[in-house]
Subunit: 351 residues, 2 copies
């Protein structure tokens, strides 16, 4: 296969972890006979510094014409103190999601047996957890009309959803559930919100097309509780943009493996793959960041091209590195640790 991959390294540790994912992907490509052309492009604070905006048109061109996007992380502390600054890295993220039509954010939370003790939860609560959130990513209150009135004294944000938006996200949820344990949970606040009632009625109407899938409906506040109590009771969860923002982050910390969690954002034409962690500015340039989440994001990318064996080769290399202790300091438990690039080399060498 010939693959054109847009490469958005971003800020902070982004470039370092992306380098390792490139190494590992190239090793996979050479082993399985594929050819990857990497197309680097600017994004985030790096793009603001260079050209004054976080998702430049030139970057969009490269992404829109690629077969997939591999993304590092964005964000820089110099933007942290003023969330209303006119130009911010996050705006690039939102613009990118919207312009590329990345409507479904796929966020798995799973555990690595060797890392279970890093979880804040007791072992019996977390063992066996393997769930996936599908978060709607281009609608809802993030993109509705927002502003001020009464001379700035009143602020508003409008949350809007159409039935078609709910359907395309829910369809992915049903399809994913069919490949897993056939359990789907629709997370909403239908006892209060009209958009949630639209979500619920739309999903209810789709149930008949997937008779094998067992669908449950839970309120967002109840899910926020049960994720901590019994995360292993969930399988596939679908939800709207803002609930997904909160719940996927909550879910990410329960596994003990947060630094290893990959994600995908899928559109009709293109998909983007990125680690869930941030740009970790304090670690920039120190060669200490854990590259595994980004490497596992590359595994998701191969799998999304239908290249299952390629994805599996990456996952096995990561498991082997964890077992062999070829890990960065965050996972070393005071034992010997390796640099970001050494871990990348080891993984590439073990493909």
């Amino acid at each position: 296969m010939k693959l054109n991959i847009a490469l958005l390294a971003g800020d902070g540790i982004g470039p370092e972890v992306i380098d390792q994912a490139v190494k590992v992907s190239d090793a996979v490509a050479s082993k399985f006979g594929h050819e990857i052309t990497w197309k680097p492009a600017l994004t985030g604070a790096a793009a603001i510094d260079a050209v004054g905006e976080p998702y430049p048109d030139a970057t969009h061109e490269i992404c829109a014409n690629a077969d997939a996007v591999l993304f590092g992380a964005i964000g820089h502390p110099k933007f942290d103190n003023d969330p209303s600054a006119p130009v911010r890295p996050e705006q690039g993220l939102l613009k990118m999601r919207k312009k590329l039509g990345l409507f479904a954010n796929v966020r798995p939370t799973f555990t690595f047996p060797s890392l279970l003790d890093k979880s804040p939860l007791k072992r019996d609560r977390i063992e066996g957890t393997d769930l996936v959130f599908l978060r709607e990513l281009t609608g809802g209150i993030y993109f509705g009309e927002k502003g001020r009135r009464d001379g700035g004294e009143t602020a508003f944000d409008n949350c809007v959803y159409t039935r078609a938006e709910v359907q395309r996200l829910a369809k992915k949820g049903f399809e994913l559930a069919m490949t897993r344990s056939k359990k789907l949970c629709c997370v909403d606040k239908a006892n209060v919100l009209e958009t949630s009632r639209l979500w619920r009625e739309t999903v209810q109407a789709m149930e008949k097309d997937y008779p094998e899938v067992e669908v449950s409906y839970e309120f967002v506040d109840a899910v926020a509780m049960r994720l901590v109590q019994w995360p292993n009771s969930y399988d596939v969860l679908i939800t709207e943009n803002l609930f997904g923002d909160i719940l996927t982050d909550e879910a990410s910390v329960i596994s003990g493996s947060m630094g290893l969690m990959p994600s995908a954002s899928m559109g009709a034409d293109i998909a983007l793959f990125e680690p869930i962690h941030g740009s970790y500015p304090q670690a920039t340039g120190l060669n200490i960041a854990n590259p595994m989440a980004t490497v596992l994001s590359a595994a998701m990318m191969f799998e999304n091209f239908g290249l299952q064996a390629e994805g599996k080769a990456i996952r096995e290399a990561v498991n082997a590195a964890l077992s062999a202790g070829h890990v960065t300091e965050d996972l070393a438990e005071g034992g010997k640790s390796y640099g970001t690039s050494e871990v990348g080399d080891w993984l590439a060498g073990n493909i």
Copy 2:
């Protein structure tokens, strides 16, 4: 003191746990020389069954003229399957909050040393946790304009806040922080939402009036994570209605003592006190429900009247019951357990 207390027992186990809080409050009143007149009124599913609506005007009259409201729980499974049914118990709750002007929901999460092992979190994560959420309760997306357009294909919910609404909630937050460790965290999503930017700028402008309070600002997704990772790093948190709904429920399960957590909802003229647990329909009438959360809600009520010693007497009785094992089956760990009313009798007897 002469106190008129509206008594809203509600549904499910509500009446049973309320009975115990009444017993204990009466014991406190007689010990400290107060006189409580209880004014029972209908609410929830019980009110729908009786008069066709969940917060009848007659109930509002009683509440509005009382010195405080003591509330059990509402909700009945017969309303669970259809969140868009025209008359539902929750609507009563929202109407009650709005009509009584209960703008600040006070939700403490603390731990009882003897219950720490019931937490899903590891002991070192949860030990020492003692935080309070102030959730704004009468604004935001709960009460903004909502509806459908395009023949039902598009749904919307509008989130609206005024500076004055933020100020009165934040003022309570600063004041509460002053009586505690002087740490205040404002939870928002100011990197995306205009209402959150209004929240943040309003709180920032108030900082100068409370120079001793150390204020931090965190995004709601980050708080959803850190609540699970390091709950004991928080003290007072203030937030808007929907974020508060999700985060207070998340916080409630981390302590291991969820069945014991009380809450208060404060307005300008009146306050309401209730356990955070639900109506627990399966346990209705079985005399097994744990009354301690409701009893501790009564303690908050006394304290809100400035009757600190009275509140303390209740808290000490609860601690004594926990130490002595005079508990309902949920806390008995397979040992001897007592009925709801027996625990209530014991607590009243130990005031």
